[in-house]
Symmetry: C2
Subunit: 321 residues, 2 copies
């Protein structure tokens, strides 16, 4: 069994090359550009890890991993256009560097390239992988649409937010893991457990992401703390705070949302703490972490094979054990 | 053998239904909306026709035809965003009706839906159809990028324009026809001829489109004559006119391109006629029509089976025989 780091190195070695033709220069340079911005490649490496959970890693896992990374980058390019985001990982976003139109097209060819990678796998698995891939692709688009819809809604429930964020971020990790399991020859039952492991891990990770944006250590977190608060983003924290706040706190919160005073972050955080939103978020993250781990536990393979996935889960959720 | 009209009716009967889930409402209503705007459905019906050229129509041909129509509409939605087009077939474009962001996502799910349709076909053909589909999808994106690049270039050669317009418009018709041939069990050689038939027919059609925009009868053409001239669009006509014009005509043309005087269309048309651009365009269209027909002729099936495709070609190119 290989560790996340070992498989990450192995994936990068395979992935770190030009994936697109030379011309049209603008189009394919834009597509190649975002791949160089990098990231932790958690999703593609998960494909390799869940393949190895069941069997030796098959070359098809690298094709699927590449497809997943292409898909992820397709969605980043298009989301950044919609969000008008200037930066990603400290680098100019594709649409800022190449213009909206070329970025739109670069996203499109990236999505097509994802399907091209999938088409390289053994035909015996092609239908199953394609089915899961396309279903997931649509769900991710649905999640982005719901996210935009929510920005315009006055109130969103925790369940609605959970549904949206699952689609927008968790199902891709879940599907990556199930695809690895499919390639590893896993049974339907085991595939289900691995999908749910990935999905719940993804939700726990998102709760943590929302938490860290508000309560994280700026130096460790690597980005401005309070960004979500400044942008009035409906997060787990804000939605829950509005749910549990008393009349005075709720009025204060809504008033703060409508302004941009200098100490907005500090004031919102103070209300969050009064409402114990921080403790609640930690317990929510723990809840989804435990659901995820239960699904890993219920997966019918030897315990020793699960060690690296356990470590990955703990690493992603910054847990000591 | 069935006529274009018969197969068109058959395709519409199969296609004319809701293809997307109910929610998120915005996203899927936007996707469904453009499908209702319609069109002649030449590409999907071509899949059925070229299937029937070789064999009885297989249900897979309907899946592929639907995928092709989805892909075409994906590219229309995204192109309309890029072109900031307000109308399509007299109806509001998707981005005007639903906003740029939802239109972008609606295009994305439409592309995914195309792959979902392809994934419904028999696995024995899945790899071949997917390969051709993805190659073509990338080419169409490349064509759109080149088209945008050309808008910013001072001069474009006929060969460059031909390459761009082939990618942007002809390869999809060509691929539709080859996919029908694949489903019909055609040999590689016959597939090649059918692809080239579609590709050259598409080029001839585009030459005609450029021609009619300048010289067409407004009542028959159904849209404003001279639209390309007003927009300074680099068309077959303009590129050739600049190529063959004398110094005075060229200077006049370039001056006209830099202005928007009231009689711009009339003055440009006058120069086009002086340069015999109209005659040249008719001969160019004829050239590609003949190449297309030669490929149909060289396709190794009984002559009688080719009759409906011949009629389609004549119908598309408004030829009497």
């Amino acid at each position: 069994m290989h560790s996340f780091t070992e498989l990450s190195t192995s994936f990068e070695k395979d992935f770190n090359r030009r994936h697109f033709p030379e011309t049209p220069v603008n189009l394919y340079d834009a597509a190649q550009y975002i791949l160089r911005i990098g990231g932790k490649r958690v999703r593609p490496v998960s494909v390799l890890m869940t393949n190895e959970l069941f069997d030796e890693i098959h070359p098809d896992a690298y094709h699927v991993a590449t497809a997943i990374e292409f898909f992820h980058n397709f969605s980043l390019i298009h989301d950044d256009i919609m969000d008008k985001a200037p930066l990603r990982r400290g680098m100019e976003t594709v649409h800022m560097k190449y213009g909206d139109d070329t970025a739109l097209l670069a996203g499109d060819v990236m999505l097509v390239a994802a399907y091209e990678e999938i088409n390289k796998i053994d035909f015996s698995r092609l239908h199953a992988i394609l089915t899961l891939f396309s279903r997931t692709a649509k769900e991710v688009c649905e999640g982005q649409q719901l996210d935009m819809d929510f920005e315009k809604k006055d109130s969103v429930t925790i369940d609605e937010y959970l549904h949206m964020i699952s689609l927008k971020t968790s199902v891709l990790l879940a599907a990556s893991m199930q695809m690895g399991a499919i390639i590893g020859g896993a049974s339907q039952g085991n595939q289900h457990h691995i999908y749910e492991f990935g999905k719940n891990l993804g939700i726990a990770f998102q709760v943590q992401d929302d938490y860290l944006d508000a309560f994280g250590d700026p130096e460790k977190f690597g980005k401005q703390v309070g960004g979500d608060i400044l942008a009035n983003k409906k997060t787990f924290l804000l939605i829950h705070a509005i749910d549990v706040a008393n009349e005075k706190q709720k009025a204060d919160l809504l008033q703060l949302l409508s302004t941009n005073e200098e100490d907005k972050i500090a004031k919102v955080l103070a209300i969050f703490k009064e409402c114990k939103v921080d403790e609640w978020a930690e317990s929510l993250k723990e809840k989804y972490f435990l659901i995820a781990m239960k699904h890993l536990e219920d997966t019918a393979v030897m315990e020793s094979r699960k060690a690296e996935l356990r470590k990955l889960a703990q690493y992603l959720l910054q847990r000591e054990s």
